[in-house]
């Protein structure tokens, strides 16, 4: 079999897995069988993964930072290969995730979203603008495309679309809507408009992203502001990243805490940063993903995000340590 055939065959199998994951019969094949075949293929077809396997042994995780310096793919990358790019400052090296087609991304994102929120024909709005090469923008666009009514409330160029906001307000007085926003976008909107009541069955889904907020409010204050602005809506969080084709979702529990859960085709482990061995529930460590939807790139991805397993299949997310350029400096050392 050629490399293209191997990859195509695996993509088909992952596609079937995703399509059947939530069915009453369960997925088309066992997760571990598909994982083993996919890892063997990645070791053969992905030069970066090949090096990591040779140097570390076993089936290592690929750190998200590796995506900044190497094309992590099982296929040749050309100037025309589409990619998603991580956000960052202008001086920062950005990570790129190359892909050949968005089929698996769309299958993974939409299947999980529909399973969690059963949107039906619920109108979908976004405070996140349609930025190029942004996986978040792409995901929201997928959801908006699948909705009967949708609209961007925030335009490229830093202006609100007042007509779209008015339209959302008019719809949301009658029936539920889904509103996507980064936490920063949500905060700016709430500060600007103060009040924008939505139907109480509406979802306000934040996609993380405190970055750029000078003084991010504590979570309880933030939630209070959300309900002050939008009324007693339902709240959820989305946790994804450029390097992954799958997302995690969480609904806020009674303590105002998010307990995240991945879809069935993606597993989460928490690893000790020094040894990279799995941490038991309750012990904080690095969040690591085994995402079958990443079959074209790297299935096993290690992040710098800190989290903790809860023991019930969910995990807590504590965020990322402050960056090296943010750390303090001393006179003597």
């Amino acid at each position: 079999m050629t490399s293209a055939t191997i990859l195509h065959d695996l993509e088909q199998r992952v596609q079937r897995f995703i399509a059947t994951a939530y069915s009453s019969e369960g997925p088309a094949e066992p997760f571990d069988t598909l994982l083993a075949d996919a890892l063997r293929a990645q070791q053969e077809l992905n030069p970066v993964y090949q090096r990591l396997c040779a140097r570390m042994g076993g089936w290592p995780y690929v750190h998200t930072d590796v995506f900044k310096y190497h094309p992590v793919t099982c296929f040749p990358v050309t100037a025309d290969t589409p990619y998603f790019q991580t956000s960052g400052t202008t001086t920062e090296v950005r990570g790129r995730k190359y892909y050949r087609a968005d089929t698996l991304y769309a299958a993974s994102a939409l299947t999980h979203f529909v399973q969690r929120f059963a949107p039906g024909d619920t109108p979908c709005f976004s405070l996140f603008p349609p930025l190029p090469h942004s996986s978040l923008a792409y995901m929201i666009a997928l959801f908006m495309d699948s909705a009967r009514e949708s609209g961007y409330l925030y335009r490229l160029g830093n202006t609100y679309d007042m007509a779209a906001i008015a339209r959302m307000g008019a719809i949301a007085r009658q029936r539920p809507v889904i509103l996507f926003a980064t936490r920063r976008g949500l905060y700016d909107f709430m500060t600007t408009f103060g009040s924008c009541p939505l139907n109480e069955d509406s979802w306000v889904i934040d996609t993380g992203g405190d970055k750029g907020m000078v003084n991010p409010p504590p979570p309880d204050i933030f939630e209070h502001r959300v309900h002050e602005c939008f009324g007693p809506v339902r709240r959820a969080g989305e946790y994804g990243m450029t390097e992954l084709f799958s997302q995690c979702y969480a609904e806020m529990d009674g303590d105002g805490q998010y307990r995240w859960s991945p879809p069935p085709w993606c597993r989460v482990d928490i690893l000790d940063p020094s040894t990279l061995t799995p941490c038991p529930p309750g012990q904080p460590g690095l969040i690591a993903f085994t995402d079958l939807a990443n079959v074209e790139t790297a299935i096993k991805v290690l992040t710098s995000d800190i989290g903790e397993l809860c023991g019930d299949g969910t995990f807590l997310l504590y965020g990322r340590p402050s960056t090296v350029t943010d750390r303090g400096c001393s006179l003597l050392c």
Binding site: R55, V66, T91, D326, G328, L331, L332
Partner: protein, 403 residues
């Protein structure tokens, strides 16, 4: 052989020959007297081991007692606030030492980080002058000078609250080391003392400060490299050969392996955040075709994380000093200290193209003298008023009209 004093004369360092005054000696005596108590307090505040703290504190006290101190300005500002935001445990000591024996009625106020408040209070209690400690500052502009040691984020935040004329920011910096193997100096690499000194510069403060060694450059500063070196394959090109040779071949790999062992032997358990960064760097290096990763040392040709921490040293080869500057790129403006081996006979010209304010042999990076002009700004300029007193004499004849 170039002495550090010569560097001063050539404008690279600005030491002064002043000796510790009575207040400083009293302060050092008090610290020495209560050394064991202070070690316990520092261990409690930082999580460092007793041995590590004792080693650092003893060295600091000895070096400060014998080293040059900053030149005292004729007048100092009356109200000086020093913000100590997330620094190492020696920084407050350094600040207090520099404020000893100053003329005038300096009212010194320290704003320590919350986790160091008790420790800084203990230091201040042993200082011969009264020092005010504050947890909050309602109005920064009531001080004549506001010196801020902290992260770039802290500097940014406070710059909005302090008038520029009063503000003395001390943001993020880092240190590099350069080992020159040209002219047969490759034998240096066999010296255990050099390896030990580099390992100390890496580990003493867990790579968490602006003079901690994060990046090491090994190569030749002379065109053509070393004759002796060629026998032992020490030229930069052998390091940069890709794919890299097996570990058993070539001194560079052996050197890195020995350095890694030395760092491991000195390294203490790192805080969680530092472990995360070390993991990040190691994983990135492992994925690179050009690099070799030892336990604590990455041998690489490409720049990766010059501003990082976690007891992981990045080693870069270089064929001439231009390569060092090219690797540093814009970060050359963030270099605070440079360690050199062997100690040169003349000041390397390329150093003037970095922002380095402290150049020293390996092993001394962590203990600059009090007279160190941090960020190229002498302490006397930070805290001193610059008033020119006119000499007494006849009033000059002032022309009634121009020529």
């Amino acid at each position: 052989m170039l002495r550090e004093r010569d560097l001063e004369l050539q404008g690279v360092q600005r030491h002064t020959a002043a000796k510790p005054g009575p207040e400083l000696l009293t302060f050092l005596h008090n610290l020495q007297r209560d050394r064991d108590e202070l070690v316990d307090m520092i261990v409690a505040a930082t999580g460092y081991s007793v041995a590590q703290v004792a080693r650092i504190l003893d060295t600091f006290l000895a070096e400060t007692a014998s080293g040059p101190v900053p030149a005292a300005p004729e007048q100092v500002w009356s109200r000086v606030l020093v913000v100590l935001a997330g620094n190492t445990f020696v920084l407050p000591l350094q600040v207090l030492c520099r404020c000893a024996d100053l003329p005038g009625n300096l009212a010194l106020t320290l704003k320590p980080a919350s986790d160091q408040a008790t420790l800084v209070a203990a230091y201040a209690a042993r200082f011969p002058r009264p020092v005010q400690l504050v947890a909050d500052v309602p109005d920064y502009n009531t001080y004549d000078r506001v010196v801020v040691y902290g992260s770039d984020a802290t500097i940014r935040a406070l710059s909005a609250r302090v008038e520029p004329a009063r503000f003395v920011p001390r943001g993020h910096r880092f240190a590099i080391g350069v080992v020159d193997v040209s002219d047969g100096r490759s034998r240096l690499l066999q010296e255990e003392t050099l390896i030990a000194a580099i390992a100390d510069d890496v580990t003493l403060f867990r790579q968490s400060g602006c003079l901690s060694l994060n990046s090491l450059f090994i190569g030749s500063t002379k065109p053509g490299g070393s004759n002796e070196g060629k026998e032992h394959k020490p030229s930069a090109s052998s390091i940069s050969a890709a794919p890299a040779p097996k570990r058993s071949e070539g001194w560079a790999e052996q050197f890195c392996a020995r350095l890694s062992e030395a760092i491991a032997a000195r390294a203490e358990a790192l805080p969680f955040e530092d472990q995360v960064f070390a993991c990040q760097r190691r994983q990135t290096a492992l994925a690179d075709e050009q690099t070799q990763v030892f336990e604590h040392v990455i041998l690489t040709e490409e720049p990766r994380y010059l501003l990082s921490r976690g007891n992981l040293l990045t080693v870069y080869p270089f064929a001439d000093p231009e390569r060092i500057l090219a690797t540093l790129g814009p970060l050359a403006e963030r270099v605070q200290g440079i360690a050199l081996a062997p100690w040169p006979e003349t000041v390397p010209a390329w150093i003037a193209r970095t922002s380095a304010s402290y150049v020293c042999p390996f092993g001394r990076l962590q203990f600059p003298p009090l007279s160190w002009a941090e960020d190229n700004e002498p302490w006397s300029a930070v805290i001193g008023k610059h008033v020119v007193f006119s000499h007494q004499g006849p009033t000059p004849h002032i022309a009634t009209r121009g020529a």
